[in-house]
């Protein structure tokens, strides 16, 4: 069953059409990677699904309910579908622990004790429990991103969106974040990942979506897409990546 269903999605910034007639869906437990060159609209698609951008037209359904028509409270939707950003976006005035607590208390109305317990559970999961008292300015990029993943998980979401989670990291730190994501994928979390990490897309995801200039060119299981790309544009993109 589809958790997220995007149909005929279009997004324009002024005269610039960034997304054209996007149709796809993500099922429960599925890990979907979106690949493609910069400017192909991958991140905008993710931001539309998270309502950080308002789509120009088209619908996005969450469990069959349109997330934009107002029937589904946006706070509720946001707590069910979390997001991990390229630049971490941790709350700089709060400790790592409080970063994971504030949303639970404000949005889910949990008590501080319950929120902290839950937060610690996920901080431990991403290996950040020892740093719970640190502030974002005091930890490394990879640690920040793992804390940000714990923050999203602490809301007990059904699905997580990852917007190039390793692109702002030193090569040495990419591994620790990808490792965390891999273990999440194996635990059955529904994930939609925009990434330039081809190895991750190939080895971890159930489906890979290739985007080019605002359209979905190909949508296939990784084995098929990487071994036998159908579209010439996909072949071109992949060959450039494999050489590099």
């Amino acid at each position: 069953m589809a958790i997220i269903e995007v149909s005929h999605l279009e997004k324009r910034f002024g005269d610039n059409t960034v997304l054209k007639d996007i149709n796809f869906s993500v099922s429960k437990g599925e890990v979907v990677s979106i690949i493609g060159s910069s400017g192909s609209g991958k991140s905008t698609l993710l931001r539309c699904i998270n309502l950080l951008e308002t789509p120009t037209s088209g619908t996005i359904r969450y469990h069959g309910r349109d997330i934009q028509d107002g029937a589904l409270p946006q706070g509720e939707f946001h707590s069910k579908v979390g997001m991990v950003f390229q630049s971490f976006n941790l709350f700089n005035n709060l400790t790592v622990l409080d970063n994971c607590v504030v949303g639970q208390m404000k949005v889910l109305k949990r008590s501080r004790r319950e929120s902290e317990e839950n937060a610690r559970k996920y901080l431990e999961r991403v290996g950040m429990l020892p740093y719970q008292n640190a502030r974002p300015a005091q930890i490394s990029g990879g640690q920040k991103q793992r804390a940000a993943i714990a923050r999203a998980l602490a809301m007990d979401p059904e699905a997580l969106l990852f917007d190039e989670p390793t692109s702002a990291l030193d090569p040495e730190m990419v591994g620790e974040v990808l490792g965390t994501m891999k273990s999440l994928a194996q635990s059955g979390l529904t994930m939609l990942v925009v990434t330039h990490e081809m190895a991750f897309a190939r080895d971890v995801s159930d489906r890979v979506v290739f985007m080019d200039s605002g359209v979905i060119v190909e949508d296939a299981p990784p084995k098929e897409l990487f071994a036998n790309p159908k579209h010439p544009r996909t072949r071109e993109f992949l060959s450039r990546f494999m050489q590099g």
């Binding site: 998270n50 309502l51 950080l52 308002t54 934009q68 946006q74 706070g75 509720e76 939707f77 946001h78 707590s79 979390g82 997001m83 950003f85 630049s87 971490f88 976006n89 941790l90 709350f91 700089n92 005035n93 709060l94 400790t95 504030v102 949303g103 404000k106 949005v107 429990l129 020892p130 740093y131 719970q132 008292n133 640190a134 502030r135 300015a137 005091q138 940000a148 923050r151 999203a152 809301m155």
Partner: protein, 262 residues
């Protein structure tokens, strides 16, 4: 009655005779500056928050209309009160209120009112700058976990914005201590007004205002130090504790962190 013949003699004489007058004036000045800055801060906060609200594209038209009307009013308020001298504002508000609205405000109330509204106009822009300086990513992250605009402001943006603008808030406070002296035009018994009346009795303007300037300097100097101390407190611990090592879950290692210059 014999009068002192030296400068310091006069200073001592005046201090002895008008010590209480200076003290009362200083108290009034401090009271006006402090309450004016606090109320001005609150006014500025509300104005700045209102000016940074962004309605969604799909918001109903009447709400968009109302919003731009309110924003227009607030912009006009800032322009008017930053664009005219506080001394003139004091005359207009005090005498205008008396002649046309028939409100006979106690001078202290009107003094605090004037300083608050005036400071509010400056604070609104300072705080707006502080809000803008918090990177948008954090606002998006708050939104992505379902926090409302108001929750995001209160828990994430404003604490950082206020910390960032503490030096400017201190500036406003210092300016208010000095500029409340212009309120002598509506006979507020603040430090300048009291000094003037003390000086008039013996025609010792230089000696009296020498004392007055020292008092102003002492006030602004100590308040600047105090605010710097508060800033340091706001920055919190410069170290954090790593809880639990792999071998011993009860261990705690304190990690000192080099402070970034704010």
């Amino acid at each position: 009655m014999s009068f002192p013949s030296t400068f310091f003699g006069w200073v001592a004489f005046l201090l002895d005779k008008y010590g209480m007058v200076f003290l009362r004036g200083t108290g009034t000045t401090l009271l006006i500056a402090l309450t004016g800055t606090v109320f001005g801060f609150i006014i500025g906060l509300l104005v700045a928050i209102a000016r940074t609200i962004e309605l969604r594209d799909r918001a109903p038209r009447w709400r968009k209309g109302l919003m731009s009307f309110v924003k227009g009013l607030l912009a006009a308020y800032i322009e008017v009160f930053r664009g005219t001298p506080m001394m003139v504002q004091a005359m207009v508000i005090y005498y205008g209120g008396m002649q046309y609205l028939h409100i006979d405000m106690p001078v202290m109330v009107s003094a605090i009112l004037i300083v608050s509204i005036n400071t509010g106009a400056y604070m609104a822009e300072i705080i707006r700058g502080g809000i803008i300086s918090v990177d948008k990513g954090q606002v998006e992250a708050a939104k992505s976990i379902g926090m409302t605009h108001w929750q995001t402001m209160c828990s994430i943006v404003l604490p950082q914005a206020v910390r960032n603008i503490m030096p400017s808030i201190g500036n406003e406070f210092v300016v208010n201590i000095k500029d409340s002296s212009v309120l002598n035009v509506i006979s507020v018994s603040e430090l300048f007004f009291m000094s003037k009346s003390a000086a008039g009795t013996y025609y010792r303007y230089f000696e009296v205002f020498f004392i007055t300037s020292l008092i102003y300097l002492a006030l602004t100097f100590s308040i600047t130090r105090l605010l710097r101390f508060i800033e340091k407190k706001m920055d919190g611990n410069s170290s954090y504790t790593i809880c639990g090592s792999q071998t011993d879950s009860r261990s705690a290692i304190s990690v000192p962190v080099e402070k970034k210059e704010a």
